[in-house]
Amino acid sequence: MEGGRSRPPPRCPPGVEERPYRSASGAPLALRRRQHSASCRELALRRPRLQLRSLSAVTSAVWLAAYGIFVLSENSMVLSAAIFITLIGLIIYLHFVKIDQESLLVIGSLGIQVTSSYASGKESTTFIEMSRVKDVVINEAIHMQKVIYYLCILLKDPQDPQGVSEVVPLFQSSQPRLDCLMEVYKSCQEILDQRKEAPQSSEMK
């Protein structure tokens, strides 16, 4: 945790609850829950942002190494190459690797939308229609010496009504712990339950 400078948590607008949790590796996460309407909920998991400390540490390490090579080889191309590599590496890292927020938008009777927002502002979205969703469950996996819990969406198999054709894991880069996952699971199930009630009530008409 940061010692001296601790940033105040960002204000959330009214109607939004935010709670701190931890990821599987111990990093702090923030879960933001927002209810747009009776059948629409948004759950967003925010990860810690890129720290200036680590960025300057990596940059100075690379530049010191390049300077060392320059002193040994007397070739100034090494220095410009190092600057170029640092810039390109930073752009690639921010645009393709560093995920700032992972969110789940559940709209009853339309579908579930999974969004990952990267540090450079890029958002990659997948929308799964409700007719393809069988259920949302928490699965456990054994990874090396740890047992990890992860939330996943089970998709229906068109041929076999009881079978599962695909498993879509959620929150893969944040990897929240079980308490956070249970909150998300309860929120999702409340909305998924509504679709099970609806056909029954329409039969009763």
Partner: protein
Amino acid sequence: MVLKVFFPSCCSSAESGILIGRWISEQNSAVVLAVVHFPFIPVQVKQYLSELQRVTKVNVSVLGSWNNSKQEKEESLSEFLEDLGTIFSHEPWIQISKEGDSKFWSCSTLQKRSNNHREEEIILVYYDQRKVMLSCLHPPLDTGASTAHEAEDASRLSAIFDTVAKSKILFMTDKYDDGPIKLTHWQSDGVEASIIVELMKQASVPACMLLTFLLSLISGACKSRMLKFWPLSFLWSKLSTCEQLSHRLQHLQVISSNKKAQNQTQLMRKANIFVSLLIDVALGILLMSWLYRKNRIGHLADTLIPVADHVAEELQDLLQWLMGAPAGLKMNRALDQVLGRFFLYHIHLWISYIHLMSPFIEMILWYVGLSACLGLTVALCILSDIVALLTFHIYCFYVYGARLYCLKIYGLSSLWRLFRGKKWNVLRQRVDSCSYDLDQLFIGTLLFTILLFLLPTTALYYLVFTLLRLLVVIVQGLIHLLVDLVDSLPLYSIILRLCRSYRLAAGVKFRVLEQQDGKPLRLLMQINPLSYGSVVQTYRLPTYSCYPKDSWTSLCKKLFLGELIYPWKHKGEKQD
């Protein structure tokens, strides 16, 4: 169940009227296509809709009413609109009303048949009509699917995209038309068209006919009996330039055909082939202008002979090294000398042949370089063929070395079996025991010893020439890889994905807009474009060459046994 209304964002500022569109009852959703304004005669509206249904095969009907009051809520208008529900009977009758410039609309439904007036939740989804109409959802539905299954299996999204795309004819009437019906949709301000596109469409018909005529002439000439004689047909099949030219001819035939493209895939394929040909020819002409400037072709021809000489000299040095004591290994003197002298004589013949050709090289190269205007791929294929021709002697040496080695290995394995008293049964394809006579055993053992002690020499020659041959094969392979890349890259699709990303849709994404309590949920539906990797994978053009199907283990086995390897087999060639 929740009612979903898909409303086009272009109709947000339309005048009051009635909504027409399609009602999808299985999904409880309504797709609004346009707004019909007052005054209208209900009978004419019904006629228009049935006509539309007949033409587009989309079940278009009146869905509800739209009340856009600029001032305060007009009670009389809202009652009038409710009464309209009795004229156009539709279950449920959707009423949307907007006050002034407010973003939050109120939406309600009238259900006449149901007894309990349950308040069902309404979701309002805005969509961009033009983009949804032009876009194509991937993966595309099979056109062969029967209509019975289509209604069940069709996902919600493809149903919506389908509805909007098929109603193209509805969007052709704009507000300047003097019809009985006044509509508002995305094109109601006037249909836009480009003069250049129209001119090109008109010019393309005679151009296609001319091209088809020329192509029929060329393919007729190619199929003539003269070119089918054995030496010529063998030569054509070995040269990769001819393969590439026939491949491009096929492409030209596809483009110049008169039939319109049936569906999206065919259209994209035609467009990709056209752009690929264009870029190919442009790059080829660029290369040609670079080559012919400052007489680079002349310089190239001048350096070709010295390079061939240099290669031959290096080979001679290599053979002298092998005839001595290469890498400290002791060779059999007599066999070494025989093989070495044989290959040296071969090189001598090759050099004399090259020197005989040298006065004509520059002229041949000059004319061959002109064919680069047919495309960069043709130029690269010519380069690959020149490399193959110049290293023909290496290929010959490889074949001699491989055959000799193969013979030796088979002889050794057969005599080894004789040594142990066994024999290969050709009928049963297995090893059987056999009793040999004494003189058979004696001669067999003698031959075995001779072959065994001569093995290192042959093996070394085989190894050296196989490595050289593999080097040449790798160079040719890289050139062919580049040719395949230019051939199969779907450039038009990639540029479309870059500039008009909504046309290639992988799916949709929803954004939640500002909400207000008591009003329906507002969502914005946007198109989620396909990723570049999937674009390339879906629209790749097929190529004619197939990469080696041998796995690494079978390749190593063939090399060990001395069997000849043919790395590049074209489709349609018989396997030896």
